[in-house]
């Protein structure tokens, strides 16, 4: 706890009045910002978000330093279930938590988004992919920081169409995220003159074996296999695609894949894959410095994109709180988010950026190619940069999102 002169004066006055304890406690409460990291601790997205998101959130708090208020970081496992996530969010807000952060798994994020708006708290999202968060479901209480399905679709989708991959078959996780990723990628493919020949939507998370869908993909005679899924599912689908020889007639587009997924596939099977991230630990001096600071706390691994997003967005939120005052920030989540949008962002993970009216954080996106085993110099040296989409082009144009906040 950081002791302030004002606290001491207030305490002294309270002591004189004979009500020391309740006053002190009330003041401590008012001076504490509580951030709940709601993430997947036990399922397929644990490595991509999970404990790493908690570590990076704590790092943001540490790097922000002491500026006259306390910050407390809580964590919970939403088990990728919207009902579980919604009830934790509700409970947290009722217990005085100010911010719910991270929330991978789009269906859970959409549920929590609604509650944050109802209760006028703050929803900082890094882990969820659906572009609907800044589209029809946008909210004055939410910032969507790291990436979204539109960003992934534009970068990976466009790059593959450019190299001649013009007919696509999707294997799609059958829930909000997979649907959004398939839709956004399909739109790009069609806009560039390509065709979508079909898709197979499989039950999430109950599917382990993808061979039946891979066979359908091959039979469709498409030349690109679009994987609109994530985590272990993507890994299993890629391993299956290699096994069934799909790479002979099709390019594989893993539309959402992170460093830990690449590690799980292995460079041997993964080399040459194109994928898009907004953060990579070895991108520049600042990302390397951040990685150095957190590596030991993060099981000796570099942070993935989603936890890096937690770092950036929590740091920026705390700057906004310091700017507007703790009391005002706690009183209205919408005001705090408005202040975040009014201030330019700058952090080690993403560099300088801005937040748009619809809650979309704007920064460049990077297309990476997975290295061959011979090119990799250390266990986490996995990518080479293939292309960069500049910040102003990386995300969906403000006017096209159908966000009610923008229209009004």
């Amino acid at each position: 706890m950081v002791l302030q002169r004002r606290d001491l004066l207030g305490t002294a006055a309270a002591a004189a009045a004979g009500t020391v304890l309740p006053r002190r406690r009330a003041r401590a409460q008012a001076q504490t910002i509580r951030i709940g990291v709601l993430t997947d601790m036990s399922g397929p997205y644990r490595d991509n978000a999970g404990p790493g998101s908690v570590v990076l959130t704590q790092q943001a708090v540490q790097d922000f330093g002491s500026r006259g208020f306390n910050v407390e970081v809580l964590q919970a496992d939403h088990q990728n279930k919207p009902d579980v996530g919604a009830s934790i969010t509700r409970q947290w807000f009722d217990q005085g938590v100010d911010v719910v952060a991270d929330i991978p798994t789009s269906s859970v994020a959409l549920a929590a988004n609604q509650i944050a708006r109802e209760k006028n708290k703050v929803h900082l999202n890094s882990g969820a992919a659906t572009s609907d968060l800044t589209g029809p479901a946008c909210s004055p209480n939410m910032v969507h920081w790291t990436y979204d399905t539109y960003m992934l679709a534009k970068s990976t989708g466009a790059a593959i169409v450019k190299t001649g991959g013009d007919s696509w078959f999707f294997i799609t996780a059958d829930y909000a995220f997979g649907h959004a990723l398939e839709r956004d990628t399909g739109n790009f493919v069609k806009a560039q003159g390509g065709k979508v020949l079909g898709s197979a939507r499989y039950p999430f998370p109950a599917t382990t074996d993808f061979s039946a869908f891979l066979l359908q993909a091959r039979a469709s005679r498409a030349n690109v296999l679009g994987l609109a899924n994530a985590g272990t599912d993507t890994v299993n689908a890629i391993l299956g695609a290699r096994e069934f020889g799909l790479q002979r007639s099709m390019k594989i587009a893993a539309l959402l894949m992170g460093i830990y997924d690449v590690k799980a596939v292995g460079l041997e099977s993964g080399q040459g894959l194109l994928l898009t991230e907004a953060f990579y630990w070895d991108l520049n001096d600042r990302t390397r410095a951040l990685t150095q600071r957190v590596k030991a706390k993060n099981q000796d691994r570099p942070p993935a994109m989603e936890p890096a997003g937690c770092y950036g967005m929590v740091l920026h939120y705390l700057k906004a709180v310091a700017d507007m005052g703790v009391a005002a920030a706690k009183a209205s989540g919408a005001d705090a988010v408005a202040r975040m949008k009014a201030m330019p962002t700058d952090d080690d993970a993403f560099g300088a950026g801005t937040i748009r009216a619809d809650g979309r954080k704007i920064h460049p996106s990077y297309l990476f190619e997975v290295k061959a085993p011979g090119e990799s110099r250390n266990p986490w040296d996995l990518y080479k940069l293939a292309a960069t989409t500049p910040a102003e082009e990386a995300f969906r144009p403000l006017a096209e999102g159908n966000c009610p906040l923008v229209r009004s």
Partner: protein, 294 residues
């Protein structure tokens, strides 16, 4: 070639074959469950975790000791079976006289703990395990591209299922086992060490799960939750086949693999549900399962 129900025939044949391959995993796992339930009366919810341990044991043997796939196929199940035997001695053996529910809850708790420990240690993304070079490559069957390794899985599973069935139904040892489930006291009176036999049976059931895990390691990501998705389906297979029926578990495993495979073509969204719909129908019509004795 002609279409069948609007699906090109080659695609349909391919899916049938894939269904059989997945069915091989279901059969192998439900076999272990059926052996354990039939002879110990324990609903082994830790089976999925033990499947996962088999895959991890194979990975550890390769990554840490340089022991390859073929030896892993032998050593990994023995290691996992030993852990199973320890669990049986320490915990499960205390529950034989109690209701099924206690065994179910205990083994479910054990499964959660085991998966949690592996998740903490190895993360959730999984670890790569290469297909052995002897079994890499694929056959072009005309109607589909058939990886050699998947063919091997079916053959291995069939051989394993057949051997287990023969041991339990046709040998003297199997006769002792079956007799012990009917009347343990009487069998013990004939000089058979029943508690040891029961312990070893649990170990054998667990080893079957672990072999499944080793077979799965090269084709799926080796990750801590790899068994938990499968185990629910496998339980449905056992229930449909008839709890404790060995032949029922094998046949139902293959059959449901095919049904699930076909559902993936006609209505992929329902492929996780179809098995439970069948389970509900079977339970309504034959509460003891297709091959169970009421």
């Amino acid at each position: 070639m002609d279409d069948i129900f609007g699906i090109p025939a080659p695609l349909l044949f391919g899916q049938l074959l894939l269904g059989l391959i997945n069915g091989a995993f279901y059969a192998m796992l439900s076999l272990g469950l059926a052996v354990i339930f039939g002879l110990l009366n324990i609903v082994n919810m830790a089976h999925g975790a033990q499947f996962m341990m088999g895959a991890f044991a194979a990975w550890m043997l390769l990554a840490w000791l340089g022991i390859g796939y073929w030896w892993a196929l032998l050593i990994a199940p023995i290691i996992v079976a030993i852990t199973g035997i320890i669990l049986e001695k320490l915990f499960i053996s205390r529950l034989y006289k109690l209701d099924h529910l206690y065994g179910l809850l205990l083994t479910f708790g054990l499964a959660l703990i085991i998966e949690g420990v592996f998740r903490n240690e190895f993360g959730s993304s999984g670890l790569p395990y290469r297909i052995p070079t002897e079994l890499s490559g694929a056959w072009d069957l005309g109607f589909m591209f058939m990886p050699v390794y998947r063919g091997w899985v079916v053959i291995a599973a069939l051989a394993l299922c057949l051997a287990t069935w023969v041991i339990i139904e046709k040998t003297r040892l199997g006769a002792y086992l079956r007799a012990a489930t009917e009347n343990a006291a009487l069998v013990q009176a004939f000089g058979v060490n029943v508690p040891r036999m029961v312990t070893l049976t649990y170990g054998f059931g667990v080893a079957l799960a672990a072999i499944g895990g080793v077979l799965a390691a090269p084709i799926y990501s080796v990750n801590p939750q790899m068994g938990s998705n499968l185990i629910i389906v496998v339980f449905a297979v056992v229930v449909i086949g008839g709890m404790g029926s060995i032949l029922g578990a094998i046949l139902t495993g293959f059959a449901l693999g095919v049904v699930e495979g076909l559902t993936k073509v006609f209505w992929p969204e329902a492929s996780a549900t179809v098995i439970f719909v069948i389970m509900a129908i079977v339970l309504l019509a034959r509460p003891a399962g297709l091959f169970g004795r009421a």
